[in-house]
Chain length 318, copies 2
């Protein structure tokens, strides 16, 4: 869309956010930004592809929201404060009402997190959105995946599994029959409009030994965190913080599976050494297990312990 | 490609570039970077989509090279020095030999410009590549599009039109019959492996009043630069630096059209106030006209002056 591209970007994206540290935003070959002195820069990137990361013909406001949210979640997992975003939008044709809704979803979340859209690229092609977010963290204080050690407690924020169940409802793989409509709507919204954990990510600096955001499923993402620290992990299934809505919609067993392997949560999974556990009192997070010496992730249910594997969550419950 | 993604990224992209200012590169939720004190940060993003920005089944080494080159060209147009890149790669399936060639094309160019790949995302979907590059420029010295004024001379680097003619050769729209094979190969390489003007971009700081990179065609990109400065531009067609290869392959008239509207050059078009013209002596750039008060771009050929419009380069030559 060479001719309309500039007009479109102007109309819908130029005014997304306002920050004093932007010398030059959308509209030149590049953005010119003023990093705060003495801080490290954190850079993340994530792509959403139609039919892979969201169902075809999804609400464009949700697509715009999620395209930014998944990146803000990565920034939160680094313990950083987001500042600037760049948007690469590939879409089959310039549909104004679609763009207006997309920009509203993207822009509302950007403003809520004080993020300014400072650059972008619009191209023709199959619907796909790549967003880059830049943020800051005091020098040397970024939360990495690598710091976890055997003996650290494993925590997760919020109630994982809700978003995956919400997606199943949207796709008709869950019927939701018998559940209160408000609960089903809450689950669907957890998929459509995930809320990145920016506040808690920043607060975890100096407390968490390692942190990752839960995008591919709690057990799998914890496996990456444990491996990065050269250890393994054990999850006590009874400790999983399952929401009432998830339990009501999916039943207890499926709820556990959603929580462990569903993905799309954009919660934080992090580890805390024993000496710092007191700092977490009153936070919206739940201890679900420990890091251990032996590699791999094991699920403990009472006296049963099952080895977790990406390909084998049907072994689960045995 | 959830299971193989990490192995693939590890194998092909982890070692692209090495810089001391990267605290944490590929492999966590985000990269942690140390911006140089006292400099502005420049951020650019560009997407290439198969069938839109390059022909289907193109050489993957060329795709990898171009995905980075178009961004390095944007950084050069800002007068900035590139430092770090993030790569979002969407591809239909994980083909190892394709990935190896892509990474070689990307990596060779990255290393040549001292750029480190610090993050990325790999997803399944129609082939598309979005790259972001971050770079630096001394505080307040970025070259913007907005600084041009009537009376400034207009320059372009290199020999525009070659890349567009090279693409026509690749697509069979030009036969190249009668031209020396080495010339045709040179034109094709100008499309497949464009060399961003990083060095000259940095040197233009304090000299150029405005700068843009030529991606959509010289006349159209100059129109954007002139409009951003609140003025117009006049190009003297006789001054266009046409390469011998382009002339031999396309003939004089078509060569001018390629140079004015072909695109894909990734040369720099910039303006210089009269008082600073002396600074350019010996540089690989050519004066092709002036900025003028009246808006729009006009092409002068002897006594004929033709108004340029995006939709009407067939009016040209009249």
């Amino acid at each position: 869309m060479p001719l309309s591209e500039f007009a479109l970007i102007d109309r819908y994206f130029r005014a997304v956010g306002v920050r004093a540290d932007v010398r030059n935003g959308v509209g030149d070959d590049g953005a010119v930004l003023v990093p705060p002195p003495g801080e490290d820069l954190v850079a993340v990137v994530d792509t959403l592809v139609e039919g892979v990361h969201f169902p075809p013909a999804s609400d464009p406001a949700s697509i715009g929201h999620r395209a930014l949210a998944v990146n803000l979640s990565d920034v939160a997992a680094m313990g950083a404060t987001p500042a600037w975003a760049l948007l690469a939008l590939t879409l089959p044709r310039a549909n104004e009402s679609w763009l207006a809704a997309f920009a509203r979803g993207f822009g509302d979340l950007a403003r809520a997190h004080d993020v300014q859209l400072v650059g972008g690229d619009t191209t023709s092609g199959p619907l796909s959105i790549t967003v880059q977010v830049l943020g800051f963290v005091p020098r040397g204080e970024a939360l990495l995946r690598t710091g976890g050690r055997a003996g650290d407690s494993v925590f997760v924020t919020g109630t994982p599994g809700d978003a995956a169940c919400g997606l199943s409802l949207l796709q008709g793989r869950e019927s939701g029959r018998g559940s209160p409509p408000a609960m089903l709507e809450a689950l669907r919204r957890r998929f459509l409009f995930p809320q990145p954990r920016s506040g808690i990510g920043v607060q975890l600096r100096g407390i968490a030994s390692a942190c990752i955001d839960v995008s591919d499923g709690l057990a799998g993402d914890l496996a990456k965190l444990a491996q990065a620290g050269g250890c393994g992990a054990e999850i006590d299934v009874a400790l999983l913080p399952l929401s009432d809505a998830l339990r009501a919609c999916a039943g207890e067993d499926a709820a556990e599976q959603y929580a462990l392997t569903g993905g799309e949560d954009y919660e934080l999974c992090f580890t805390v050494p024993p000496a710092r556990l007191g700092a977490l009192r009153g936070w919206p997070c739940t201890a679900i297990g420990h890091l251990v010496e032996a590699p791999g992730v094991r699920l403990r249910r009472g006296h049963n312990v099952i080895e977790f594997s990406h390909s084998g969550f049907d072994h689960f419950g045995g």
